[in-house]
């Protein structure tokens, strides 16, 4: 859209929490930092806050750039900014890096306050519920009692869903995008292969590789390559790479022959250079564990009984990892509770990653839905 523009230059901030955080696993995080960014202005009655929950490898840098020379803007910059679907002229948008992350929030690579060394393998396993608790504390810290909306795709969508269960009075709208009420066996299997690639890397050292001044780069690289395949659709990969050869002819070797291989290796290398393996293990585990229906004999409708928010649920037709059928399970549970819910099944070729793409219809859905959200006067 021509009238929309980028949020411009942004800077991350740190919130330090000294209240211990009891975790679902039974462990307690004694103190922690959350790194976050905000865009737009919190209005006088603090009714225009929107929190963005990130997916598996995400972080707090959702929109804008850190410097004019930055090649890339935040990961959801196409959605957030002045005049964009999540219009920062109306909304105060908060992006944060989840606990256990590797982009500033307290995680396995952070220094343990008692030992003076990185947490490493001692860092506890976190769940979606734990993240939501910590996010609610960040909202408290920012003086926000109720979010106009909680928004997330994939693992972020699971957090948005959990918000409506954990803090029903604190969420007016929940946008649950390309998500599922739990992972299928096939999804857990993919996560396990990814974790095994990391854990069996000789440089993993049981998770305490920081002390050895190495990183399990090979394992992380393979884990990311595997993940990347599952986030795309066969059609999208076919359209982008097909069977295109790197050098125009087959060379009968195990070097890069096909463009597809080149792309995967590039993505894997890039990721292994910037992401922490211990974080990857923990984020995939949080995905595996998420299952709000578990405590209700598998009855998702019962699990969602506390929810009060209005919902927008979106799935993408070519998403085979979080298929539309999984989103429809969420929708059914919301209908069973007679909640306000609209559900869109967006025709898209890009597979699971479609939720990050600039698709005209998808963005029109978000724009029109968000436009209806009532917020108080500007500060």
């Amino acid at each position: 859209m021509s009238e929309s523009s980028s949020i411009g230059i942004v800077a991350p901030q740190i919130a330090h929490f000294t209240d211990p955080l009891p975790l679902k696993s039974g462990e307690v995080l004694p103190q922690y930092d959350l790194v976050y960014e905000t865009y737009g202005t919190l209005n006088a009655d603090k009714s225009n806050a929107v929190m963005i929950c990130h997916a598996l490898s995400g972080h707090h840098h959702v929109a804008g750039k850190y410097a004019e020379t930055d090649k890339h803007a935040g990961w959801w910059d196409n959605l957030i900014g002045p005049g964009k679907p999540l219009d920062t002229n109306r909304f105060f948008v908060i992006g944060l890096n989840n606990l256990g992350g590797c982009h500033g929030s307290t995680g396995p690579s952070s220094i343990h306050p008692q030992t003076g060394k990185p947490w490493g393998s001692a860092f506890p396993l976190l769940t979606v519920e734990d993240w939501v608790t910590s996010q609610a504390r960040l909202a408290d810290y920012l003086g926000i009692k109720q979010l106009a909306a909680i928004v997330g795709g994939s693992l972020g969508g699971m957090q948005a869903l959990q918000w409506t269960i954990s803090y029903p009075e604190r969420v007016r709208h929940a946008l649950v995008i390309a998500a599922a009420p739990n992972l299928t066996a096939q999804n857990i299997a993919f996560n396990e292969v990814a974790r095994q690639a990391i854990i069996t890397d000789p440089e993993f050292h049981g998770g305490d590789y920081y002390a050895h001044k190495v990183v399990p780069r090979r394992g992380l690289r393979i884990a990311r390559m595997l993940g990347h395949i599952t986030y795309l659709s066969d059609d999208a990969m076919g359209a982008k790479f097909g069977r295109k050869l790197r050098e125009g002819e087959i060379k009968y070797s195990f070097d890069v022959e096909f463009e597809m291989e080149s792309y995967l290796r590039y993505q894997g290398d890039k990721f292994a250079g910037e992401f922490d393996a211990n974080t990857y293990l923990r984020m995939t585990r949080a995905l595996d564990y998420f299952d709000p229906a578990l405590a209700h004999d598998g009855d998702l409708s019962q699990a969602l009984a506390p929810a009060q928010a209005d919902f927008l649920v979106i799935s993408f037709t070519s998403d085979w990892r979080f298929s539309p059928a999984r989103s429809r399970e969420i929708v059914k549970a919301l209908l069973d509770n007679e909640l306000s819910v609209s559900y869109a099944e967006v025709t898209a070729a890009h597979g699971h990653d479609a939720f990050l793409m600039q698709d005209a219809h998808y963005h029109a859905i978000l724009r029109n839905y968000l436009k209806k959200i009532k917020v108080g006067g500007q500060a």
Binding site: L312, R328, V331, K332, L335, D336, E338, S340, V341, S342, Y343, A344, E345, T347, H361, A364, I365, N368, Y369, K371, K372
Partner: protein, 206 residues
């Protein structure tokens, strides 16, 4: 009255059958509108009867219009059935001028009466005399209620009032009320010949 209410009231004026459908629905009822289009009917029922409702719509543009109109709308293909809805979870399930455009007609009417305590079905009467005249003259009928040529019509299952009456008997469906209209006027004499639009209020036979 809010702006949207005025909008729905205006829009509903062009669809005379909406006000008649509203007469068959109790205030505050829980309603499912299949093929809800841009959500006008549900918006109208919400504003006039305070119904709680959801629309079902397959088409992207219609879905977006419904949602933008403040109507909760679920995107799905009716042909796949209503498996996302619990039995008897709605007071009334509506199929307004869509029956003729569905492939699995039998299955959808049965699904409506599974999910709803009652159903409302409206459709253009293929037995209307103008349609019969066009057929006698050797052409497929084209009219206000059937505004398509044979080659571009979405209508695949056209029926007459007599056909639908028989369908209900054969499928153990009780016709609670039936209303036949032409140019918004009720037709009581020879409705299958003189009526252009049929409206049925249905429930499963005891």
């Amino acid at each position: 009255m809010s702006n949207t209410s005025i909008k729905f009231a205006d829009a509903a004026k062009s669809r005379h059958d909406f006000a008649l459908i509203a007469k068959w629905i109790k205030p505050g009822a829980k309603v499912l509108d299949l093929g809800c289009g841009d959500g006008t009917l549900l918006g109208y029922l919400r504003d006039t009867l305070q119904v709680r409702g959801y629309g079902v719509e397959k088409d992207d543009a219609n879905w977006l219009a419904s949602m933008s109109n403040g109507v909760d709308v679920i995107q799905m293909d009716l042909e796949a059935g209503l498996s996302g809805f619990e039995a008897k979870s709605f007071d009334v399930v509506i199929l307004s001028q869509t029956l003729q455009a569905v492939l699995n007609t039998e299955g959808i009417v049965q699904e409506m009466l599974r999910v709803g305590h009652e159903a409302i079905v409206t459709f253009p009467n293929f037995g209307y005399w103008r349609h019969r005249f066009q057929l006698i003259a050797g052409q497929m009928p084209v009219s206000k209620n059937l505004p398509y040529q044979w080659y571009d019509t979405p209508n695949v299952h056209l029926c007459t009032i007599k056909d639908f009456d028989e369908f209900c008997i054969n499928h153990h469906i009780e016709v609670m009320e039936r209303l036949v209209l032409t140019e918004q006027e009720p037709i009581n004499m020879m409705p299958n010949l003189r009526g252009s639009l049929a409206m049925y209020h249905l429930k499963p036979a005891e």
